[in-house]
Each structure stands twice: as structure tokens, then as C-alpha cells.
């Protein structure tokens, strides 16, 4: 598929180009829904489709009013505040527990490793609706249902598998003789950890933290059941908006969230490259 050889038959030529067109269409299907909301969020009307003015590229057809609504409406602002209060705390919890456990799991002798791994990964496997149901039942028994900490703990639990997976992945390529060398040169285990091991696994920890953050920041099912009105997060507000009174402000929020995703994606990609370079996996 790389390049069309000069001796290709007409049939091969046709197939070559039609295959590229098919792939182009699938890429279009993947990306179009995300891109289309960006211009629509600047709609001057309260419609969900392109108006005549917008298609004619008339400046009068565009406005920032939906963004303005987002930044002035108390409901949306409260939701934003709640999201910002919940996600970082859940991320810190998930990342610190997860990193420690990943280091433990990468030791050479871990008893019951498959069983432990299964338990630790389970929050990622179990469908969210089941986690939400179980947590709702259990947290109402112990009085955490409808509280800030209930939501934070639940989100932290959902984020830990991602941290374990990303940190373990960086530890797989970790050269253990570096630790021995450090010990040989007189460093104690704590110094070894912070001076030798930590700098090398930092990309894994940060990408794990980003995964944990986005898990909490985007999560809606669990918070829908566990939270009370006081923990209404951004996705929850979007969910109610979509189900009840669909307002174009949602498109402005969605566009802002796409911008956040692009930032996260860039950071992750940079981290991946740095990690590969540090561990000498790829030349560039």
C-alpha cells in the first residue's frame, strides 16, 4: 500500500485510489462531528444548524453570545467550579496510590500477582453503570452518598487503573542495573528512588495523571448517581442540558472541552516522545 509501483495495472490503480478515498471518508466520519460543533458554537441564532448568514460568512451570523452565557450563567459557573474542585483531588489520590502500586508490581517477586492485578484493573473493566449502582448502594450505607468526598473517592478509584497501566509500561523498559549502580555508589533507597528511578518514570506518571484527570473530568454516570445537587459537575450539567432543555450554550462548552482535549493530547504526545528518547527506544 505504500506507493503505487509504475507497472501497476489499471485495476490496481483504481483500487489504490478508491481505497484511499474510503479511508478518507472514514477519517472524515471520525473527525467531522468534533469539528462541526466549533463553528456552530458561534451561531448568532439559537439554532443547531448553519444559518444562511453563517454560510454566506456574514459576520452578523456569528457571535460570542453562547460563550458569554457560559461565563455568566451561575449554573454553568457552579458546574465548572465543582469539576475543578473534584478532578484534581481525585487525580492526586489516583496518581500517588497508583504509582506506588505500579512500582510494587514491577518488582521481580510479587506473590498473587495475577489476582492483585485483576482487582486493581477491575474499575476499568466493570461497566460504569454497574460501578455507579454498586457505589450508590454502598456509599448510601456508609453515608458518603451525595457528599463531595464520595464523588472524589469514586473518581479516584476509576482513575487508578490508567495510572497503573501507564507507569508499568514505563517501568518495563527500566534498566534495574541503574538502581544497583546507585546503591553501589552509596545512595540509600530513598535517594535512589528520587534521583534515579523517578526522573525516568516521570513521563509515565504524568500521562497516567492526565488519564486519571480526564477520567474524572469527563465522568458523568457515577457522579449522576453518587452526587447531590452540590456536586453537579460540567458533564452532569451537559447531560441534563442535552436531555431536557437543549440550549446552544452546550456547543460552546463542548468547543471549550475539545480545546482542552487538544492540549492534553499534545502534552501526552510530547511526553511519549521524551520517554522513548530517554529510554533510547527510538532515534528521534
Amino acid at each position: 500500500m505504500s506507493a503505487l509501483p509504475p507497472y501497476a495495472s489499471p485495476l490496481q490503480r483504481t483500487w489504490y485510489y478508491s481505497f484511499r478515498i474510503i479511508c478518507g471518508l472514514i477519517f472524515f466520519f471520525l473527525i467531522f462531528p468534533i469539528l462541526v460543533i466549533l463553528p456552530l458554537s458561534f451561531n448568532a441564532q439559537d439554532f443547531f444548524t448553519f444559518t444562511k448568514e453563517m454560510l454566506a460568512l456574514d459576520p452578523a451570523g456569528y457571535s460570542f453570545k453562547h460563550y458569554q452565557d457560559f461565563f455568566t450563567n451561575p449554573d454553568w459557573q457552579q458546574a465548572l467550579t465543582n469539576s475543578v474542585m473534584i478532578a484534581p483531588v481525585a487525580t492526586v489520590l489516583a496518581t500517588s496510590f497508583g504509582t506506588l502500586a505500579a512500582i510494587g508490581l514491577s518488582q521481580s517477586h510479587v506473590p498473587y500477582k495475577p489476582a492483585i492485578m485483576a482487582v486493581l484493573i477491575s474499575p476499568m473493566i466493570v461497566p460504569l453503570i454497574i460501578s455507579a449502582a454498586g457505589m450508590y448502594f454502598f456509599y448510601s450505607r456508609i453515608g458518603l452518598q451525595g457528599t463531595y468526598w464520595g464523588v472524589v473517592l469514586a473518581h479516584a478509584a476509576l482513575g487508578t487503573p490508567f495510572v497503573i497501566i501507564t507507569v508499568t509500561a514505563t517501568l518495563v523498559g527500566f534498566d534495574r542495573s541503574l538502581v544497583r549502580a546507585a546503591a553501589n555508589l552509596g545512595a540509600n533507597p530513598v535517594t535512589t528512588f528520587f534521583k534515579v528511578q523517578m526522573p525516568l518514570i516521570v513521563p509515565g506518571v504524568v500521562s497516567g495523571a492526565l488519564f486519571a484527570f480526564i477520567t474524572s473530568f469527563d465522568e458523568v454516570v457515577v457522579v449522576l448517581f453518587l452526587g447531590s445537587a452540590g456536586q453537579k459537575t460540567l458533564p452532569w450539567q451537559m447531560f441534563t442540558g442535552l436531555r431536557e432543555q437543549i440550549s446552544p450554550t452546550i456547543l460552546a462548552v463542548a468547543s471549550l472541552m475539545v480545546a482542552i482535549s487538544i492540549c492534553l493530547l499534545t502534552v501526552l504526545e510530547l511526553l511519549r516522545r521524551r520517554s522513548e528518547r530517554l529510554r533510547g527506544l527510538s532515534p528521534g
Binding site: 472514514i26 502500586a101 482487582v119 500521562s207 472541552m257
Partner: protein
Amino acid sequence: MSDTTQDGQLLTTADGKPLKASLAKALRREKLRALMLIAPLLIFVLITFVAPIADMLFRSVENGIVADTLPKTVVALEAWDSTSGEAPDETVFAALYEDMVIAVDEKTHTRLGSRLNYEESGISSLFRKTGRRIKRMDEAGPFKEQFLDADKDWGTVETWQVLKRYSPRITSGYFLNSFDAQLTADGVEMKPEDERIYMFLFGRTLFLSIVITISCLLLGYPIAFLLAALPLRTSNLLMILVLLPFWTSLLVRTSAWKVLLQQQGVINDFLVWTGLISEAGRLVMINNQTGTIIAMTHILLPFMILPLYSVMKTISPTYVRAAKSLGANDWISFWRVYFPQSVPGIGAGAVLVFILSIGYYITPELVGGTSGIFISNRIAYHISSSLNWGLAAALGTLLLVAVMVLFVVYDKIVGIDNVKLG
């Protein structure tokens, strides 16, 4: 391996301890250190996640409410023969009176009523009505007449049969309900035709998940193939088009589809503008199965492409070249040489997409209408609207078992340690 030297002396370390014991001690210390590092997270996950799941499993069979609310009645009912065709006698009614007085005081009788109402409709109002009358009853008796006077349903055998059937603390009632069956006096029976909804919903969830998995495979395979064949620089660039949707919030993508698929939405507007459909013939693509399938295929497509890509990346192009030099045409070399090597990727991607889709809740809820909803939506309904938590737990348990079985399959194909992200 022997731990003695040739002349029979025990091998020792420098400080005189046996080498074997010393090694074992070191190994034990290492194991302990690993466990100490894992312990905080393990305890955290056990409390915040595993305990809730266990609680849900317990709730799917738990049924203490009858025995807790009407303890004396339950004991008295043991002597009553439910096949006798007659309502119990005065002793049972006397016990019921004592229990009901306490229950009405604590206001627990209405909860019991709504619990039993899941099994036999009408019982909820029976308990409510009796609850209002209980204060005015004569403490001296006779109780049977007074209860019959409050509500004649106390005289029917069915009421008492339900009460007796659900007096044990553990019940299979919720699970039977999930299978559209019920416990009657003659044992387990299927519910009437028009009340069977759960097997139908499970079937639909399964069917839609299969359709979504197949569409993801059909769309994902060419993309993964192209990405694996292109030079790294180009494929990394195109990979952004896959990763951006992967990283974009689920709700953002669902709202995008809601906007696109509406009858007054972008796609319909475009089709009308091109003249493919008339103004009156705008397509209904949302709040039905089409909406669920389109939106969920889009949302889950990256989960298909990424595992496929990572497998295809490892397929060496020399095999296909060898096949071609041996005279195979493009199709044969693909189908007989390339495709079989990509099957592990298909397995991994398909199982992953399938696992994710059978538990989906948000997207079907928002774009599925009534014909495109999944079993998860029914679970959510029972938790927050009908408050039949036991049934929600039983349905959840069944779904969990299905996912676990699939996950074991996934583990066999991919291995739990080989899960990669991004």
C-alpha cells in the same frame, strides 16, 4: 541444587548463617516490600470499589424486609399450609396486628408494601390502607374480622402466599424477575407474554452491541491497515485524527451527534439542499436505534483502531512480498497471508468494543429514544425512578457476569498485562 559442599558441610554466608535460609529471608523481604508498596492502593480499591460491587451482588438476593418488618407474622405463618386454599387463622392475624402496630409507628409498613408490590400488584395499597386503620382496631380482637373489614384482600389466599413466599431472608425473586419469570404457588413460571421485557432488553443490548462491533470492525480495519502501511511520519500525523476523538469527552461527541442527526440538523439540511430528500421527507435518525448505532460506532471506533494498529504494525511486509513473488495476486496475498496475521488484533479490538458497548448508558439515554435503549438504562431507571434496587442489582449482576466472561476471553487473547493506552 544442593546446599552442601562436597565434603558435606553446609554452605553459609559470611556471618555464618546457612545460605539457603539467608536467601529465603532475602526473598521474603523482597516480597514483603513489594506488597507494602501495593497495599495502600489495594486497600483503597477494595474499600471504594470492590466493596460496592460486593454490596450490589448481596442486594440482588437480599430480602430481610419481610422478616424485619413482620417478625411475629413470619413465625406464625410457618404453621400455615399455603396450599390449603384458605386464609390463615386468628393466631396469624393476631401476630400481624402486633407487627403492624410497631411497623406503623416506625412507618416501615409502606416500604414493605412497595417491596411486595413488585411481586403482586395491589399489595402496596393494601398495606397503606391497613396502616391508616390500625389505630382504630380493637386491641382485644378478634383480629381476622377487623383486618378483613379494613381490606378484604387480607382474606384472599394469594396475598398470604406472596407474604409467605417472600419471608425468607434470601430470595431468588429478583433474578427470576430479570429472566421475566416469577415465583408462584406452583413454582417458577414465566410471566405473561406482555410483561416480558428484560429478556427482550438483554437481547436488544446484545444485538445492538454486535451491530456496533461489526460496524467498528468494518470501518476500523481499513484505517488501521492504512496507518500500519504508511511511513511513520505520515501515520503519526493521521493518528491524530484517531486520537482526538478518543480524547474528546463522551458528552461532547454525543452532543455533536445530537446536533448532526436532528431532523432540523446539519445532515438533513445538507441532504435537502442537495435535493436527495424532500423537505417533507427529512430522515428520522435520532431517538431510535439508528441514532444509537451511529453515535456509538463513532465513539467506540478508536478502541477498535488502536489494538488493530498495534498488531498490524508487527506484521512484516516481507511475507506479503514473498507471496506476491510466488505468484499470488493482491487479493490472495492479502486474504491468505496478511489477514490471518491480523486476526489477533481483530479479536482484541472486537472484544474490547463489545465489552464497552454492552455496558453503555449515556449515549443510548441521550440519542436512543425508547427503541434504542440498553439494559443499562433500565438499571438506571430502577435505581433512580422505580426505586426497585433489588431488581437493579440483579440486572447489574447479570450484566457483570456477561462482562467478566468476555473479559476472560479478552485476557486469553491479549493478556491483561498487555493493555496499552494511546
